[in-house]
């Protein structure tokens, strides 16, 4: 039988090359979508993990501060803890290399602790490392990239503080851990503290625990002796933290990528179905010659296996290329939004290939399942006799429809029961929806085509035929509808989010000019605005008021959030925060405002206390109001600077907002400030500019979803082509009859265009309807559950119409080749069994 399989394969490929090629294309794109997203997802964290291993490779646990600063006094206490084999202090800071608009991850280490650093070259002059001001070791990769050589100097800044670094050595972190950030830069801890004005401060203490000691005991002892001011984390916990940070982002991409694969599965379904139709006599004959059920099934399974394998073989490199093409955008998101390491290079571990192969084969197998079962149910006589499959779908359409409606209903019940409180709910609802679409498709196609009144042999005749060939057409239409629903849903969600963000920015960005520093984006609280700079800003004649902002990450109930102290002295009508609940902070000290994501995640409402870990124990602040917040899914809260100082100590300001006198051109003031503070590393942006940039970051973040949307559309449109080719081949007798009855080639061509157009139209309409539901699920369930923010629905009608036209056009294009094939069927093709 295996011999027969290979013998038959050749004939089959010869007979249906275009079919095979199209389904291969579909599966490949599906696999590519999943592969590219998974590669990106995998690598989004691997830079963090790589850098973590590179820096803290030997550490069993890492201690980080929860307070605005981690005092170096902690270090000897860690060192003296029983069971600790070694401990090394780390000073970490992301600094901006000034002219390059590019950051370096500076790690200040104590060279006299047992830390492993991968020095390049025979030796490093330690006295220079300690004694030469600004001495830093950078990775050779970065040095090559930037053309740096030993002895080169570069100016960096953190906050308004500038420092000059000297390349003193190369430390090849990538050699030990290839995915480590290339931006790691090592210097002596004393130099780092001194250069960046952070005497007495550490950011991390890495600890190695004796092997024969219970790690848990030591961690418990460390936690006990160091108190709530610090977090004691194992590398696994740190990876988990980073992973949690990205989880929502990654999960959404994964879900979208699987839709592509799902749509690809439909293609396999169609092509298996087609091959079954084509080979039924062959199978019947084989059975009559004594081949068992299982053997005939084996032939079919062999085909699908081959398709799956080839799909994986083509999809993998394709996916890699897609990942490579999009890695920069994702990397920008990962660094800008999540403050993790940039993705320097893509690495694909060996197990990943197995996984991708499994996913490809599985989806191909799933696609082939139904037709194969159909084959299984047929006896020899039925196979040899006329094929009655077609009518079956039509007969079952009402039942399938009810089932589909039932699934949607189930989704509705789920929403009613758990709403956005249970994270997986959104995905289950989306899945139910996507499963329901193919089920309701046949009846809807029947209904829609049944409404058509045909009076001529043309487009409409072709469309009407769709309803009569449901077995073949409904699958492709369903695939298209699923893809369209995803496109419509995601497009609507992204557009709604963008619109919401734009309105929010409009409301929130009220000051005329904003001043922060280049390092602010990554270094946050460590990027300090020098008081003298604020004075200069305040002295500008057009400046009416200066609002200061101090920000650091704080913890509540184990959750890290962005905590800000503000002046909150803005004039009454200039409420800087759009309120969801409660009122503004007001002049009275002591209260706190909480952003929506934090409130949702911690189930807080106005009147509750937000309990923050403080240096002297928990600080409970009453919540005055909850504001819309789209700045970070981590969550945010703010209070008066005075309140913050009272509980967390005085601290420097990170940015200021300037209110200008009425009628002053803020761009002009920006230019003036830039000129007068030219030598200070500052980011001075007008109100308008900051809005633009926020939307730019937004667009960058969602750019990757565009790729996914187009990938599944591509597959769906391929499905249209595939189906029409199947129809052209399967129904050649019918076409021959038309020719015999005097239909011209052009007429048949038009009939097929009509079929393509009809499939597209039904797919678009059905997909748009489902897309609306999909958009609601994304907006009201998924986003709320994962990110905790309210998105206001905005229908991007123009964009949706435009997209629909593109899909329509693409479908018509995809119909051209099948229509040509169909039009070439000669009248002599008439054979009795085919009608």
């Amino acid at each position: 039988m295996i011999r027969y399989f290979f013998r038959a394969l050749r004939a089959q490929l010869h007979g249906g090359l275009s079919l095979f090629a199209l389904s291969l294309f579909g599966v490949s794109i599906g696999v590519a979508a999943v592969v590219s997203i998974q590669i990106i997802n995998l690598n989004a964290l691997s830079a963090f993990s790589g850098s973590m291993r590179a820096v803290s490779g030997g550490a069993d646990v890492t201690i980080v501060g929860k307070m605005p600063s981690l005092s170096e006094d902690t270090y000897p206490r860690v060192l003296a803890t029983p069971g600790v084999e070694a401990a090394w202090p780390l000073f970490r800071l992301d600094v901006v290399a000034e002219d390059l608009d590019f950051y370096l991850e500076v790690i200040g280490v104590d060279f006299f602790t047992p830390i492993d650093l991968p020095w390049e070259g025979a030796s490093v002059d330690l006295s220079a490392a300690l004694g030469e001001p600004g001495w830093v070791a950078v990775t050779p990769t970065l040095a090559r990239e930037k053309g740096w050589e030993l002895g080169d100097r570069l100016e960096v800044s953190v906050g308004t503080r500038k420092a000059e670094l000297v390349i003193g050595a190369f430390s090849d972190f990538q050699k030990a851990t290839p995915l480590a950030s290339t931006r790691l830069a090592v210097m002596d801890i004393a130099q780092a503290q001194s250069l960046f004005g952070a005497r007495g401060q550490l950011h991390q203490i890495d600890v190695k625990i004796f092997e024969d000691v219970d790690q848990g005991d030591v961690i418990a002892e460390l936690e006990r002796s160091l108190g709530t001011q610090v977090l004691v984390l194992t590398p696994e916990q740190r990876e988990q933290q980073a992973s949690d940070l990205l989880s929502a982002f990654r999960l959404n991409l994964t879900a979208l990528s699987f839709i592509s694969l799902f749509v690809g599965g439909f293609l396999v379904f169609s092509s298996t179905q087609a091959s079954l139709v084509r080979r039924r006599t062959e199978f019947g004959l084989l059975r009559s010659l004594g081949a068992t059920h299982r053997q005939v099934m084996g032939l079919l399974v062999g085909d699908v296996l081959l398709l799956g394998l080839l799909g994986v073989a083509v999809g993998m490199p394709l996916g890699y290329l897609a990942a490579e093409a999009n890695v920069d955008r994702v990397s920008a998101t990962v660094t800008n939004l999540y403050l993790l390491d940039a993705i320097n290079q893509l690495e694909v571990p060996a197990w990943f290939f197995l996984l991708a192969a499994a996913v490809g084969l599985f989806s191909a197998g799933l696609g082939a399942l139904m037709p194969a079962l159909e084959l299984g149910r047929k006896d020899t006589r039925a196979l040899l006799a006329a094929f009655s499959l077609h009518e079956r779908v039509g007969a079952r359409a009402p039942r399938a429809f009810l089932l589909g409606v039932g699934l949607m209903f189930l989704g509705g019940i789920l929403y009613w029961l758990v709403g956005d409180r249970w994270r997986p709910a959104g995905f289950i609802q989306a899945f139910l929806l996507i499963a329901a679409v193919p089920l309701v498709t046949p009846l809807l196609v029947q209904g829609a085509t049944g409404l058509l009144r045909v009076r001529s042999f043309g487009l409409a005749y072709g469309m009407k035929g769709l309803g009569k060939q449901l077995q073949t057409t409904s699958v492709a239409i369903a695939a298209l509808a699923v893809a369209v629903s995803m496109v419509v849903g995601v497009t609507t969600m992204v557009a709604s989010f963008r619109e919401t963000l734009a309105i929010w920015i409009e409301a929130t960005v009220q000051a005329d000019v904003y001043v922060s520093t280049p390092a602010w984006r990554r270094s946050r609280r460590r990027a300090v605005l020098d008081a003298s700079v604020i004075e200069v800003l305040a002295r500008h004649p057009a400046v009416e008021q200066v609002d200061r902002l101090r920000q650091f990450f704080a913890y509540t109930n184990g959750r890290r959030f962005s905590f800000a102290g503000v002046d909150a002295r803005a004039p009454g009508e200039k409420t800087r925060f759009a309120l969801l609940e409660g009122e503004m902070l007001g002049a009275e000290l002591g209260g706190i405002m909480v952003g929506e994501p934090l409130a949702r995640k911690e189930h807080l409402s106005v009147g509750d206390d937000l309990v923050i870990d403080g240096p002297k124990g928990p600080v409970a602040l009453p919540i005055k109001g909850i504001y819309y917040d789209y700045s970070s899914e981590l969550g945010s809260a703010f209070t008066h600077l005075e309140t913050m100082a009272k509980h967390f100590g005085d601290g420097p300001v990170n940015s200021v907002a300037l209110y200008l006198e009425q009628g002053v051109d803020s761009e002009h003031v920006v230019d003036e400030l830039k000129t007068s503070l030219a030598d200070v590393p500052l980011t001075i942006r007008s109100n308008r500019r900051i809005r633009e940039q926020a939307l730019l970051v937004f667009d960058q973040t969602f750019a990757i979803t565009r790729l996914l949307r187009y990938m599944s559309l591509l597959i769906a449109v391929t499905g249209v082509a595939l189906t029409l080719i199947v129809l052209a081949r399967e129904r050649s007798a019918e076409l021959a009859l038309y020719r015999a009855l005097g239909a011209t080639r052009l007429q048949i061509f038009r009939v097929f265009l009509g079929k393509g157009l009809g499939m597209a139209l039904i797919g678009i309409v059905l997909g748009s309807l489902a897309g609306v539901v999909f958009a609601f699920i994304l907006i009201y369930v998924v986003n709320r559950a994962f990110f905790g923010w309210t998105i206001f629905v905005h229908w991007p009608i123009g964009l949706l119409v435009q997209q629909s036209l593109v899909i329509l056009g693409a479908s018509v294009l995809a119909s051209l080749y099948p229509a040509r094939v169909a039009s070439r069927v000669p009248a002599t093709e008439l054979r009795r069994e085919d009608l």
């Binding site: 060192l79 084999e85 104590d110 030796s123 490093v124 330690l126 004694g131 004393a190 001194s194």
Partner: protein, 370 residues
């Protein structure tokens, strides 16, 4: 990797000219000279001794090394507590002379307020450091006026001691004027003095058990900026306390092939007079070797030592073969520092005294600790 780095760095330190060098006419000033001398690259306080208590006998070693990293103090140039020109290395070892158990502990810290420092202003405290990781107690070195107080502890190894020493004999200079040459080059020398007999008492912990102990110690203090000459691979150093009241110090700088490159010695009479020995004034030969199972180094552990001018022909034997100190911090840093007993050749092995021997530069890829 840093281990390798630190070692490399220690070797590749700035040219010697930037540091002060040992001179024959150094103007000694005590007690100030017991404290640290920052201008020199290396300095050490070395205590070794034999102790008894609870019916047990112990050998111990306590050393603080000060190693200059940069010759110009950078503490003032940088706004950080971590700014430091020196590192402190501490070595402590105890040998249970009955069971033969030898325990070695070490610390290495940069000199900074949180971790370790050499005091310059204190009347008592010469230096201190944090204990090794996992140990709360500090390691300290104090001057008491008539001796020194030392303390070291390693909770993990269940070892430690707090000892008070009192000079039983006066301080002597090693080499005329405390100028001790280590090679033929003029720079190869140190400022060097010793207390050859210190009455010692205090507490000692070994294997978690505490003992009240008494005994005798030897203290060496050296500072210099020189290093081994290229042909020298290490040294053998003897500090022997004879029961007749004399003390003998000998050192031999060895070449790669085991031959002697340079040697000096000092004999201290019972009344504290020092007489300096040249290479030709003494001889010694190894009579037995021991191979370390952990480093593979082959150390001599018994010697025949002759000082004809003093009428001495001594059999010197290690009380325990395995008294090797192996650094955890620095790969390739290991040496033998052990308690020895002395008998007179031909007198049936009757004990004639005791002492300590230090052997460095044995084994493949070995480097001296300083």
């Amino acid at each position: 990797m840093l281990r390798a780095l630190a070692i490399t760095a220690l070797v590749l330190m700035p040219p010697v000219e930037e540091w002060r060098v040992a001179v024959p006419d150094y103007a000694w000033s005590f007690p100030r000279d017991h404290w640290a001398h920052d201008g020199y690259r290396t300095e050490w306080w070395y205590f070794t001794g034999h102790l008894e208590g609870g019916g047990r006998r112990f050998g111990y070693q306590f050393t603080f090394f000060r190693i200059g990293i940069v010759s110009e103090p950078i503490e003032l140039a940088l706004d950080s507590d971590w700014a430091s020109s020196h590192v402190i290395m501490g070595h402590a070892a105890v040998t249970d002379l009955e069971s033969g158990q030898h325990v070695f502990s070490e610390v290495l810290y940069r000199e900074m307020p949180l971790l370790a420092s050499f005091d310059h202003d204190s009347e008592e405290r010469i230096g201190w450091s944090r204990g090794p990781a996992g140990t709360k107690a500090l390691w300290t070195l104090d001057f008491t006026g008539d001796g020194f107080r030392i303390a070291a502890r390693d909770d993990r190894l269940e070892m430690g001691f707090e000892l008070t020493t009192r000079a039983a004999k006066p301080r002597i200079f090693q080499g005329p004027g405390g100028f001790s040459r280590k090679g033929k080059e003029s720079g190869a020398a140190s400022q060097y003095y010793s207390y050859t007999r210190l009455e010692t008492s205090g507490e000692l912990t070994m294997g978690g058990e505490r003992f009240e102990v008494v005994g005798e110690s030897w203290m060496d203090k050296e500072f210099s900026s020189s290093q081994l000459e290229p042909q020298q691979v290490g040294w053998d150093w003897f500090s022997l306390q004879l029961d007749d009241g004399r003390e003998l110090m000998l050192y031999i700088m060895r070449r790669e092939d085991g031959t002697t490159d340079y040697a000096k010695g000092t004999v201290v009479s019972p009344d504290g007079e020092a007489r300096y020995l040249e290479l030709e004034d003494f001889s010694f030969e190894a009579t037995r070797y021991w191979v370390s199972p952990s480093t593979g180094a082959r150390y001599p552990v018994a010697w025949r030592v002759r000082v004809p001018s003093e009428g001495l022909e001594l059999e010197v034997r290690a009380l325990v073969d395995d008294q090797e100190n192996k650094s955890r911090f620095f790969g390739g840093v290991y040496y033998w520092e052990g308690a020895v007993t002395i008998s007179v050749t031909g007198l049936g092995g009757e004990a004639l005294g005791r002492g300590f021997v230090e052997l460095t530069g044995y084994g493949e890829g070995n480097r001296p600790p300083v």
